[in-house]
């Protein structure tokens, strides 16, 4: 009896020794969010930017605000078994689990940063997620007619004033999900984005999706924020099937298996 009590006391002491660290956790993720005093450069979005979200995979619009689906989209949606959202189940058939490209616009709302690089006639977005990139052409060209379907689509942009880049995208394939919750889209999807540089460290981001074969109304996302991360660098993050499979086997499957007891 006495031994058990001593054991318990030692255990308790060890736990208490670890407790202070548990109390000092809040608010660190957005430590980079303080506005810089420097003025925002004109017509320039260069830098590493961080989507200001929960820290997990997110959607362009909350599920409750998704517009009604067409019968085609509903049938497709019903086949999908997402790992996130209201229908989430462990495991599932999210295409990214087998290293299908995450695609645009889903890639915008991940917890990993995006580097914008400006070159003559284009703005390049480099996504840490999947080590992918997307060119936004600003040389005055039009979107391609009858574009080849692409995972990240085709994008053109123009400046409205000195601080807002407006981007139109089309020419997507229909293999990607719009969001981690498993919403589909067709090859006719068109996306409009507005990158408004509100101050040196802030982009206010508005996005809308029009896809009448899948949704009866446009999908209009709430305004989102990206913050500049002057000290962050894009790291390597390719999707490698052998690594993905190993992770699935060692983590996803045991975490998703039906309880044995």
């Amino acid at each position: 009896m006495r031994n058990r009590l001593v054991s318990f006391m030692v255990a308790l002491a060890a736990v208490l020794a670890f407790a202070p660290a548990a109390l000092a956790q809040a608010g660190q993720q957005q430590a980079t969010a303080k506005a810089s005093a420097a003025p925002a450069p004109k017509r320039d979005l260069s830098g590493v930017w961080q989507y200001q979200g929960s820290g997990g995979a997110e959607s362009l619009v909350p599920e409750k605000d998704m517009p009604p689906m067409t019968p085609w989209a509903k049938a497709r949606f019903d086949q999908e078994r997402p790992g996130y959202g209201s229908r989430a189940i462990p495991g599932g058939n999210d295409p990214i689990l087998q290293c299908d490209p995450i695609g645009f616009p889903r890639v915008m709302f991940m917890p990993t940063p995006i580097e914008f690089v400006q070159a003559p006639g284009r703005v390049l977005q480099f996504f840490e997620r999947e080590h992918e990139w997307r060119p936004i052409w600003t040389d005055g060209r039009s979107l391609p007619e009858d574009a080849d379907p692409a995972w990240f689509g085709h994008a053109i942009g123009h400046w409205e004033g000195d601080y807002t880049l407006v981007v139109e995208s089309a020419g997507f394939n229909d293999k990607t999900w719009l969001s981690p919750a498993g919403y589909p889209h067709t090859e006719d999807m068109r996306v409009t984005e507005r990158y408004q540089r509100a101050d040196h460290d802030t982009i206010l981001y508005n996005i809308s999706v029009v896809d009448p074969k899948a949704y009866t109304k446009p999908i209009v996302g709430p305004q989102k924020t990206f913050k500049l991360r002057p000290h962050a660098e894009i790291e390597e993050f390719p999707c490698v099937l052998s690594e993905e499979n190993s992770f699935t086997q060692r983590i996803r499957e045991p975490a998703a298996a039906k309880p044995t007891k």
């Binding site: 736990v15 670890f18 983590i251």
Partner: protein
């Protein structure tokens, strides 16, 4: 062997500290992110790879039986921005991990949320909250 410290780690090997509730940052349905727990044990492997680095460690249950836990953390890039290197955690290290356990009761968890962390006996802390 450092008797005192190791003994105390062994004694609390199965002890679970409830830290929750908190919001579901990761959103992965497999994990109970409303009820974080802290578990102590001995590292057996650190897998530094995408999509998420994994930490494997041995935990003694209350009958003295050793169970190897598998813990999902964050991508190497995110860990690097939090100050980690691939040798921040090595086999043999004694650690306390705060994680969201799998809802199915398997010895699997997710420590990559904003409140996930690793604490060493000397007080050193590794976090994963800087994306």
């Amino acid at each position: 062997m450092k008797p005192k410290l190791v003994t105390s780690f062994a004694l609390v090997g199965s002890l679970v500290v409830v830290c929750g509730p908190l919001s579901a940052h990761h959103g992965n349905i497999a994990y109970d992110e409303e009820h974080l727990i802290t578990i102590m044990g001995t590292v057996t492997e650190m897998a530094w790879s995408n999509p998420h680095c994994q930490i494997y460690f041995d935990v003694k249950d209350d009958k003295g039986k050793v169970v190897n836990w598998a813990v999902e953390s964050q991508s190497p890039g995110i860990l690097k921005r939090n100050g980690w290197t691939k040798s921040s955690i090595k086999p043999g290290d004694q650690i306390a991990i705060t994680l969201a356990p799998a809802k199915n009761g398997s010895p699997v968890g997710f420590s990559g949320g904003n409140k996930g962390k690793i604490v060493f006996p000397d007080g050193r802390v590794l976090r994963m909250n800087e994306r």
